[in-house]
Structure formats: C-alpha cells, structure tokens
C-alpha cells in the first residue's frame, strides 16, 4: 500500500500556566503517492503542527500516520522538508548543501556527484554551486533548499510556506519550478501556504483548515495544477473556475478570521 495515511490525528500542547492548546483535533487524510496537497488556513490553525508531526519532529497526542504501509515514528530521510528560510547550512557551499543527504548516508562523490549536478542544473544553480549561501538571493536559496531535499530522494516532500519570503515575481517563477519538479519526480508533496492563489495553482488537492481546535474545514480537488504544468501560470489564473474558487476560499478564511477576532474580543 503506497501513499500517506493520516488517521484521527490530535495534538494538544500543555501550557506552563496549566492551560492547553488543542492545535489539532481528529485530522484524517489519505494522500496517494504522487499527489500534491496544498494546505490553507488562518494563522494558528495548526498547519505547521500537522507538518511537524508528519515530519516526525513532534509526536502526536493521538492518532497515527502510515507511509507506504509502515508507521511513521521520528524524522527520517523518506520524508524531506523544505522550510520557509534559515534551514540552509551557511558554513557549506551550495553544492555541499545539496549533497548533504547523500553524504550523511556515506555515499562518495562518484555515487552522488552526477545526480547532484543534474539537480543543480534543473534548479538553475549550476554556475553557483561553489558559492557560499550568503552570496545567493532569497529565491536562489529556496532553490538550493528544494534541490537539497530532492537530492535525498524522499518519498514525501513537506513544505512549510516555502515561497513565503519571496517577492511576487520570483515567487511566480518558483511556483512553476515546483510544478515542474513535482511532475518530473512524481513525489508526494504537502505544501502549506498562506496565499490562496498559490494553493489553487499548485494543489491538486486543497485542504482548508479551521482553528481552535485545528481541524479540516473543507477539501477540494482542483484541475489547475495539471493545467499549470508546462503552461504560463498567468494563463491558468484566467480559467473561469479559478476566480470562483478564489473568491469562495477567500470568503471562507475571511469568515474564520472574523470569528477568531470576535472570540478574542469576547475573551477580554
């Protein structure tokens, strides 16, 4: 059985003051191998918590995760992670960063060299491979992070707002790159974003989460990711369904934010 199965996941953080936060409540999800799921939701609805549990950095209070038939416990190279920023190793060159995973497995240059150079080519950093991390722009750094993750050949790639710190233009190029890499490698991807457009463009499936307690609010299946492969993303945005979906989801999240505001006002 291949794919990622999340069953009845709950996560409760106990606070030092005796209270607690229900970050996730009864979240279930079935992701087939090679699917790209984007996750949207207001701030604090438990998106990062969900991803950290799947990555194995956090142990859930309840529920379980199965990947390709075996239970997920702790972090592992089969589940790669791309962070928003700050996860590259500044004391290594671009190429050393990208080859980190293979090197940790004890592979030699002859074994990983070609694959790493190929990846650097795909993300367009062949000319920068000996550069230091601080010499790169934000967009280039995220391409290094993507390449580093792919070099390890994980089954699942988890991305927490990977393009969140980039400017609009770089972001659009990176979105095309993500789609391209997804199609070429056939990886299962969970991508968290706070941009409704990005979630619609990239997500073959889209999950809208609601806060307090963090739970799944609504799920969509979308055609745009497939349309976007090999096509200008601006063309995809002109699709009539795109605007409808965007308005619908924006309204949904807007309502949730309103409710949160109302509730915290009532708390005071």
């Amino acid at each position: 059985m291949s794919g990622l199965l999340i069953e009845n996941l709950s996560m409760r953080f106990d606070l030092p003051n005796g209270g607690h936060v229900q970050a996730l409540q009864d979240v279930s999800l079935d992701l087939a191998a090679g699917e790209l799921l984007s996750v949207l939701g207001p701030s604090g609805c438990g998106k990062t918590t969900l991803l950290n549990i799947v990555a194995g950095f956090l142990a859930p209070t309840d529920g379980q995760i199965t990947l390709n038939g075996h239970a997920v416990i702790g972090p592992d190279a089969e589940r790669g992670m791309v962070f928003q920023q700050g996860a590259l190793f500044e004391w290594m060159s671009v190429r050393e960063n990208v080859s980190f995973g293979p090197r940790m497995k004890g592979q030699r240059e002859q074994e990983y060299g070609q694959a790493v150079d190929h990846l650097l080519d795909i993300v367009g950093l062949q000319d920068f491979k000996e550069k230091a991390i601080y010499e790169l722009s934000g967009g280039m750094q995220q391409r290094v992070a993507l390449a580093r993750c792919l070099a390890n050949d994980p089954d699942v790639i988890l991305m927490d707002k990977p393009l969140g710190a980039l400017d609009a233009l770089t972001r659009e190029k990176m979105q095309s790159l993500v789609l391209k890499l997804w199609k070429e490698t056939g990886k299962t991807i969970i991508l968290i974003t706070h941009s409704v457009e990005e979630a619609l463009l990239l997500g073959e499936r889209l999950l809208v989460m609601a806060p307090r307690p963090g739970r799944i609010h609504r799920e969509y299946r979308l055609p745009f990711a497939d349309l976007g492969v090999g096509q200008d993303l601006r063309e995809v945005k002109k699709h009539p369904e795109f605007a409808t979906r965007r308005e619908e989801i924006l309204g949904m999240i807007w309502d949730m934010e309103e409710e949160i505001m109302g509730r915290s006002e009532a708390d005071q």
Binding site: A55, A77, G80, M81, A87, W91, F100, G101, M104, N152
Partner: protein, 289 residues
C-alpha cells in the same frame, strides 16, 4: 616667610626663614643669608620636593629653648603647638613640642614614585632588557608569563567547551551546572587568589589554576551559547535529510557554534593576559617573604 618668637623675659622678635625646595638628589647647598637684627636670627633650610622638613629656628637664635624660646606667629598669623599656618609656598605646622615643620606646596606635578616619567620607564626597560630582573632575563620572564597564559587558557578551553556543549545539549547538565557557572562567572579571578594559594601553594600550579578558572567559565558559556544559538530548523532539516545524532553534532552544531567559541576564546585570552600581572606581583611578594 617670617616668624615671631617670644622668650621668658616677655620680649618678642621677628626673623626671616628662607627655604630652598630642591629636586630629590639634586644639589641642596643652602643659600648664604644675612643673620639679621635682633636676638632671633634669620634661618635657611633645604627641603626636597614632595617631602617635608623640620625647621629648628631656635638653634641659631640668641635666646634658645633654655630661656623659653617659643614661636608664636608665622607671617603674623598666631601659631600654637599642634596648629598650622598656610603660607603662599606651603603649609607650616608646629609639633606638640613647638618645633616648626614645613611642607612645600606639591603643585600639579606627580611624584615619580607614583608615576615615573617616560624617560625613567624607558631607561629601566633598557636596563631590565639587557641586565634582566632578579636573575632572569626579560625574555625568560615574558616566556614564563606566556607559558602560563597558554597553558591556563588551553586547560580552560579543554574543560570549558565540552562542559558548555553538554549544558547546551542536555537539560540535566544545564540544571546541575548552570547555577555553578553563573555563580562563578562574575567572581573576579583575583578574588580567588587566597583560595588558590591555600589549595595549590604559590608555585606555578597555583598561577595556572587561576588562569584556568578565568578561562573556564568564559569558554563554557561561549560553547553553551553557541549550541543554544543553533536554529532549530537547521537541526530539523538535518534530521529529515537522514543525519544521525552524531552527524548532527559534527556537521551542524559544532560548525554553527564555532563563531561563538572563537569570540569566547578571544575574550578569555584577553582576560588571561590581564591576569598575568597579579601572579607576577605575587611572585615578587614571595621573593620578599
């Protein structure tokens, strides 16, 4: 200045005192003076700069102490035993027995014993560099100091860095050692001198222990800060790239903490250098003892 003296017979007379204030060790020949009129004769004294001197003005007077010679005023200001008069050139005091003493105004110049002049320092430096000091050459002295600093610092780093890493990585270690380190850190190493002398004596070991203690806490805190300064996302990233705990230590935590450790080393080196004068001073004390 002038003084007025009285005698048992009730007579009073005035006389002039001339004081030559000379450089220490310089020529102190008294100027020729005219003894003057009356039974109280004029006097001349020589007093070194930054010193004070007695002025037995009655010595040359016709009516001496045997007939009740007593100074009753200086420059017209009355003076009594134990009292003093401020003059333009210095302070005139009177001892309980009635003898005058004079302390010339020191002015703004500092006495060489507190701060020797640059020439004197250079001369002494040349002297010590060529002749040595207390039987060893300057280079031997510097070599010993350097040796102590290097050994003390190296030992401090050798113990401090692993301790700091352990504190940064393990809550158990942090719980036990944090209070100790935080307590010891602000204690000036000089304050430990008496303790170290009691434990280790005044030999080379004691001095090295002192420098070791100076470096130890700084290095431990630097290493701990280096470890806790590691961005947790880097550690997470390394884990999900398949790195083991040991590999994370070797390839993420250690390189990420090196800048902090080098900063700590620089501070510790500075502190150790600053400490080498007390051990030297202490050695001089030993030589005197």
């Amino acid at each position: 200045m002038e003084y007025t003296a009285s005698a048992d017979d009730g007579s009073t007379d005035d006389a002039t005192i001339t004081v030559l204030v000379h450089r220490l060790g310089a020529d102190d020949t008294l100027p020729e003076i005219d003894p003057g009129e009356g039974w109280a004769k004029n006097d001349a004294f020589a007093i070194g700069a930054w010193r004070s001197g007695l002025m037995r003005v009655d010595r040359n007077d016709e009516k001496g102490r045997d007939v009740g010679h007593q100074v009753i005023a200086v420059n017209g200001t009355p003076i009594a035993p134990g009292g003093q008069v401020q003059t333009e050139f210095g302070r005139v005091g009177m001892s309980p027995k009635g003898t005058l003493n004079f302390e010339p105004t020191k002015g703004w110049q500092m006495e060489p014993i507190w701060l020797p002049s640059p020439e004197a320092v250079m001369a002494r430096l040349k002297d010590i560099a060529s002749e040595g000091y207390r039987g060893s050459t300057l280079w031997q002295h510097l070599g010993f100091s350097l040796f102590r600093v290097v050994v003390g610092f190296a030992l401090g780093a050798l113990v401090g860095i692993p301790l700091g890493y352990a504190m940064g990585l393990s809550g158990w270690f942090r719980g036990w050692f944090d209070p100790i380190v935080e307590f010891m850190r602000p204690v000036p190493p000089l304050a430990l001198i008496p303790l170290v002398i009691i434990w280790a004596g005044i030999g080379e070991a004691g001095k090295i222990i002192l420098l070791f203690l100076a470096a130890l806490w700084i290095m431990a805190i630097a290493a701990r800060a280096g470890v806790s300064g590691v961005n947790i996302t880097k550690v997470h990233a390394a884990y999900s790239l398949g790195a083991s705990k040991f590999q994370i230590m070797r390839y993420v935590i250690v390189p990420n903490s090196l800048p902090e450790i080098f900063t700590g080393a620089r501070v510790a080196m500075g502190v150790c250098w600053g400490r080498w004068s007390p051990p030297n001073w202490w050695r001089r004390k030993r030589a005197q003892a």
